[in-house]
Symmetry: C2
Subunit: 351 residues, 2 copies
Amino acid sequence: MAHVSFSELQQTIQQAFLQAGVPPADAAVCARIHTESTADGVTSHGINRVPRFVDYVRRGWVDVNAKPEPVKQLGALEVWDGRRAPGVLNALWATERGIEVASEQGIALIGLRNTNHWMRGGSYGWHAASKGFVLIAWTNTESCMPAWGGKDPRLGNNPFIMAAPREGGPVVLDMAMSQYSYGKLQVTRLKGERLPFPGGFDGEGRLTDEPGPIEESQRILPMGMWKGSGFAVMLDLLAAVLSEGLPTNGIDALQQGSCVGCSQIFIVVDPRKLGGASAVQGIADSVVDYVNASVPNEAGRPADYPGEGAIRRRERSMRAGMDVDDGVWAEVQALAADHLVSDTQPKEDDE
Amino acid sequence: MAHVSFSELQQTIQQAFLQAGVPPADAAVCARIHTESTADGVTSHGINRVPRFVDYVRRGWVDVNAKPEPVKQLGALEVWDGRRAPGVLNALWATERGIEVASEQGIALIGLRNTNHWMRGGSYGWHAASKGFVLIAWTNTESCMPAWGGKDPRLGNNPFIMAAPREGGPVVLDMAMSQYSYGKLQVTRLKGERLPFPGGFDGEGRLTDEPGPIEESQRILPMGMWKGSGFAVMLDLLAAVLSEGLPTNGIDALQQGSCVGCSQIFIVVDPRKLGGASAVQGIADSVVDYVNASVPNEAGRPADYPGEGAIRRRERSMRAGMDVDDGVWAEVQALAADHLVSDTQPKEDDE
């Protein structure tokens, strides 16, 4: 493991994105989001995704110069075409657009179609909540999980986000539909360990906590089994209907990369229209305090509210730096160094 | 088990509600909803809840003559006070109000506070979808499940509903936050069986598929473990914030019955504003077909889309009647018979 500071990580990722042709202001934003995700402990969608993003840009699956275009604007309901711009920029833009519309209308639903991987969905929850807004958002993805009762991957691992503002720490839920990510399976297998709870079926249809056989069968377990399976279907259907975009089967048919062409929904509410900030704060505090006051299952480990662990990890990362995989770090440094070499050449899109 | 037809069940429940003082038109609506839930296989929130509803009316926890009153009307965003009217009537009313507002604005969010148990949440999904609308709805409840990492009940088993219209069968997700309901635990224990998968912790904190020890410890398992726990917290927080109503801790503090004074959210979208009915139909069909085309885990048992099982059960119930628990059936018949006895007396509210 390499040990790096927040600023070193951010600068290196930013250089890698500049080298890939991302305009400077956008490269800075994307680098911040990837670095924050890493700092919060979501390394899989932080630094680990940088090489794949650069690869997608080079393949032409991500258009670094595209901007969303309006399809429909109907008061509180809008549909936008993401035009395959970088998913992080599109999703941040849609969140901001939702905030703008909700500030006027009280509520906004922004459907964003034809976009790209938004990396960590929680980023947009933290963003909206830190500005005082409620966000409910989700995306569909390509298939990577069987439906309950089926054997072959037919469902996206569609992340679902809910976020609410709160002084002292926003409350942010960010969950994908599988019990464990493929990243968690891989890390657990490489350590020679078992999962804390069963995470899928092996090739013979037996529920198992061994990661290897699940990776082979691709029969990863939906969270809550039939419940997560049904939830994944609904999120896909509504993402596509409400953005007039592609469902999972359409993304699969494209046969391009992960989430290329996907559909996303951003519902934003302005709670200032509802009882005001102090009423919201009072409710949020009472909910958080009630959870935190649980009799702990393990002495000294109180029950967390959603997002509490991320805040704890972020504070530690900002203070003490982060561990990142040696191979990934070398790869990102190489992508950034390419840029440094060519930095003496005049470039059109710098600034 | 008693075997009854749809119309016999509906008429008997209707009589029981009339006898409890529910105005005739409202008694008919409530009886239809309870009977439909039973027909769809959700007996726990169908006929089985009739005696408890009557009990709550008699205790004064449900006001059969109250109607919702507006708190705020801000375009697409509205807050209403349910005034402890029957939860089924309030929730149906809020769904209809959402449809009305969404028909104009494209989207509506109706926050309904100070309401009562809506029985089966899916009822409102089926209602909205059958009229061509998308519904996202949830309610909070009193505590009945520990947070992940805690031992004592601090979370509501907050149901979450998503529904979309589709000719050939709406797609309706209706899921509570626990892996199994207490009703399922009880039924499984009475049969002397084990749960298909672990459903909670025993008194010593061991995960178990034996229902009895889970009922004793009250440590029922959130679906997807930490995921369902976090989801329950967020649904509670947002239900209270968006309706300016009580969170779970406030419902607990009332120390009245199940869901008395709870907070509910109804988000309705009019998909006719989005690409039109045929585009929605095309997307919904493609999603459903993709799931149904899964390689089945068990030969002859294809993977279902959300709501498909309910449609199958409903068709069978309408054709062949339903089994209901002997004790419950006798109790509901007695509540209805009281009415028949007093039917010769003049009554104010009997049309």
